[in-house]
């Protein structure tokens, strides 16, 4: 162990260039990625995919290898959208033990300082990257994402978002020096000389509450922002997507232990069915930071009740597209249709409301009626999902029964230009696969389109005019929130008006996407995810506000002695 105590310092040096590059990237916001998004053997080696899948299979039907203190029993709560039996059991720990173990781990981690903590956190990311195929399989089979998406969003992009949060947090912790000299002139006498020390002090125990659809991508920023700023982290996964975070906790604990720190700085809080563990933990006075992704109902509950904590929430929203005109009708339909199809519309960023003037729009193909616009988008979806083998690589599987229930509910609320259909997965016969439905509505149907229909459900809504579309866009987002918005127009004044509405409503806007960039995708280090300025989220991933409240600066000062 004696040689081991130097390890964290080596890690910081090892990863310093990456951290520095990430710090530049969050400043200039150009393209950059630290973790290749292609699962190709040319990038990751010939054996990586098979090894990762084998590691994933090794977890199934067994107790997950996690040596946390205070295990009372084991829980298995996951059911794969692909119909694959998982049967992984996770340690179930008394909440009080989770909190006391975390609290006991805090002082040494606090006193280690920003640089050592950053080195350890960077090393954790590095180890997770080494196990990216294992993570991708775990994400795929718990969330229902298709493999490539699970690899990208659940692996490479999640790691990029983690690194982004780390870079912000490290910059924030080190924007002040650790010590400073202060010398104030005092007339003809000697100046007053003080030496000042500035300590970064964590808030307390941090709680990360994961979601079912993006267990790593949505959890990593909060997890690493809290951890690097000195807070022990309790990770409470969604009962339906435990494995990706259990794997994360496993490798994080190994790194912490190797560095000579208490591994209880990162703990898994798996819960028994119906236990309500998130509520219990969220109300513990020692819990001072909470990151949550999930329903508006529970997010609002956390904001209202967990008053002792800084609470960061991402909740439901009504993502909107304003269609005014286009000089690339085919590209527009392709782009929108792809966005609706990806992961069966189960992204928090998938468009739901597509606002189109009832009188139709002008395009490079001439005037298109409202019905032609709706049909054009629907045709793309139909084409992308026509062949089951290709379809499932885009749609993945349906994450849970709530989505199926909404698909039933939406039948009959409007005129379905494209109905949802069942698809038999060529590889997983028990998988629950549904194609997206596209439903026509009118502006009068606000009771329908004015709330979130999470899943493969979108509405093409006939409005009086583009001006009316913009009004509906603004008011819907102000009231219900949104994570994304898009606009299609050949008119700069119209685009400017939509942009002003997006500032009023506080939502990010994508204009005239017709190629390989989609409104539901955001690029780490460049695009912000959510704004914190509308009801869909009270914070953005990632900006200064997301990290600066996770620690405090406590200073001491004394006379300078020569």
């Amino acid at each position: 162990m004696a040689g081991m105590t130097e390890t964290p310092h080596t890690w910081f040096a090892n990863h310093a260039a990456t951290l520095e590059r990430a710090t530049e990237a969050i400043k200039d916001r150009g393209y950059w990625s630290a973790y290749p998004e292609s699962p190709s053997p040319r990038v990751y080696g010939e054996t990586a995919a098979a090894e990762g899948e084998a590691a994933f299979r090794g977890y199934l039907d067994a107790k997950f290898p996690l040596d946390q203190p205070g295990i009372t029993d084991w829980v298995a709560t996951e059911r794969s959208p692909f119909g694959v039996p998982l049967l992984v059991s996770y340690p179930h720990v008394d909440p009080a033990t989770l909190i006391s173990s975390a609290t006991a781990a805090l002082p040494a981690w606090r006193d280690a300082g920003p640089q050592t903590r950053a080195g350890v956190c960077m090393e954790i990311l590095s180890r997770l990257h080494a196990h990216i195929f294992e993570l991708a399989n775990a994400v795929q089979f718990t969330s229902g994402q298709a493999f490539v998406m699970a690899f990208q969003a659940g692996g490479a992009h999640a790691l990029d978002r983690a690194l982004e949060a780390l870079a912000y947090a490290y910059a924030e912790m080190t924007r002040h020096p650790a010590t400073a000299g202060w010398e104030k002139p005092a007339g003809k006498g000697d100046p007053l000389r003080m030496t000042k020390t500035f300590h970064v002090v964590p808030r307390g125990v941090a709680l990360v509450i994961g979601c079912n659809t993006f267990p790593t991508w949505n959890s990593y920023p909060g997890l690493f922002a809290s951890l690097v700023t000195g807070n022990p982290v309790v990770v409470k996964p969604h009962p339906g997507a435990v494995l990706p975070l259990a794997i994360t906790v496993r490798y994080a604990r190994a790194v912490l232990e190797e560095a000579g720190f208490d591994p209880n700085l990162v703990q898994l809080a798996a819960e028994a069915p119906g236990e309500g563990l998130a509520k219990t933990l969220a109300l513990d006075p020692a819990v001072r930071i909470i990151d949550f992704t999930g329903s508006t109902e529970f997010g609002d509950w956390l904001e209202t009740n967990a008053r002792q904590a800084a609470v960061y929430t991402e909740k439901a929203g009504v993502n909107t597209i304003v269609v005014d005109s286009t000089d690339d009708f085919a590209g527009m339909c392709r782009n929108i249709g792809f966005s609706l199809t990806l992961y069966s519309g189960q992204m928090c960023t998938t468009p739901q409301n597509i606002l189109v003037p009832a009188a139709g729009i002008e395009t490079d193909q001439g005037h298109k009626t409202f019905d032609e616009v709706a049909a054009g988008i629907a045709a793309t979806v139909a084409k992308l999902t026509g062949d089951p083998a290709r379809a499932v690589e885009l749609t993945g599987a349906i994450v849970n029964d709530g989505v199926l229930a909404r698909l039933s509910e939406v039948v009959g609320v409007g005129d379905a230009v494209l109905p949802s259909s069942e698809v038999t997965h060529p590889s997983f016969a028990e998988a629950t696969v549904r194609t997206p439905t596209v439903v026509k509505l009118t502006a009068a149907d606000a009771a329908v389109y004015g709330r979130e229909w999470f899943g493969p459900i979108s509405f093409v809504i006939a409005t009086d005019s583009t001006a009316a579309s913009i009004d509906i866009f603004r008011s819907t987002v102000l009231e219900k929130g949104a994570l994304t918005a898009a606009a299609y127009s050949t008119s700069e004044p119209i685009l400017a008006a939509v942009e002003t509405a997006s500032l009023d409503a506080g939502v990010h806007l994508s204009c005239n996407l017709t190629g390989g960039v989609f409104v539901n995708q955001s690029a780490a280090f460049s695009d912000f995810h959510a704004t914190g300025a509308n009801p869909a989220a009270n914070a953005a991933l990632t900006d200064g506000a997301y990290v600066s409240n996770r620690f405090r600066v406590v200073q001491s000062r004394r006379h300078t002695t020569a």
Copy 2:
């Protein structure tokens, strides 16, 4: 007006060097000040003092010149601690009008962008600085501070703190570019190229709730941090200290108007007696930021009830000194005694609990008993307050009846090593002046020393040992909060133990102050005021967390066209 529209741009250039220097100062945290703290004619000119006093006198017994919309009547609520009749009437505006006027002013201010806003805010500071003697008189006669302190804390230091907050906010708004190019490689095809625009979007209307003792110093950071980030500000002064903020609002509005902006970006919300205007405004859905300095009771109320807003509070606390040993007994007693005397202990940073081992301490003058330590501190206070003419230049006057009530209440709770006494002010016969009392207690008297006794009341508390003192320090601050802490010891291990306790309790620590730096004074750009890590305040003046949540970044993106 045509020529006028260029003005804000000129202002930014005029003040750019100062803003840049401030930005350096908050990074390196050495000594710097933008506004000279000496009221000497050599600094400010021969006529400045007289002109400022005349301007102040010109406000008395008259309607304050403020042209806000929606004035319903006029209110006069101030009573000077110096017994000087003030009789200034302020416009009284319907709260709904304040909010609607502020809301209407927002879009143009938002769209002006960070640089223009910073230029305007810097110009406001410049104008306030040009009227610093006027402000100093207003602070003196409303707060009860002696003139020099009112000039420094209420004028120069308040402006420095405002500039510090501006510098943090400007840095935060401009850490991302306004636009960025993004180019992602796409295999053998053309790269994906996007142009991204990042807008700074304010939260909404900001409310600043001032206090009686430091109407400008405690209000300026929030006021300018909110304003420069695009939020219209409603300034609700304490009914006992309206004039300093009315003057501030007056000059701010003049600058805004000159720049072509709606002056309602800064409005005064003077209230009628018993109106409870702060509560009404705080619960308005349009109010999205609140800065408050005052009682724990109202601060907690705001945090609990103004859920739509980001709430920054500075509340009561129990400031503590741990006395273990010293190599400069005389210097220690002088330093502590001065801290207790300054503004009659009516600073939120004044020490209250002085923890001394019952067995006494080791000093450069040999062993000193507990009683000798208490007597040494009391002797300094007695000496500083012995001569009325000199005393009042330190103590100023008693701000309100609450302080007098506590002075009565404290009689008899312990053994007064120094009683409070009345002093007749040589210049203002009606002034309410009281000297500080120093009371001996034991560690068992937690019911007395465990809460804040705001005013000229301090306790020297006999503890079992320095270790016991540190425990009391830690537990009292964790429970009741503190803005300042100090320690005296010749032992590095003891100082380290106190520093660890200060990290645990989240309070800034000053060690072995024996010269011209006092625990109750913090220097802008170098010392943080409050930490946000204990119950005395939920934020620090000023750090990244104080500014980063006052705005959001909303982005738009589109394909890059060649």
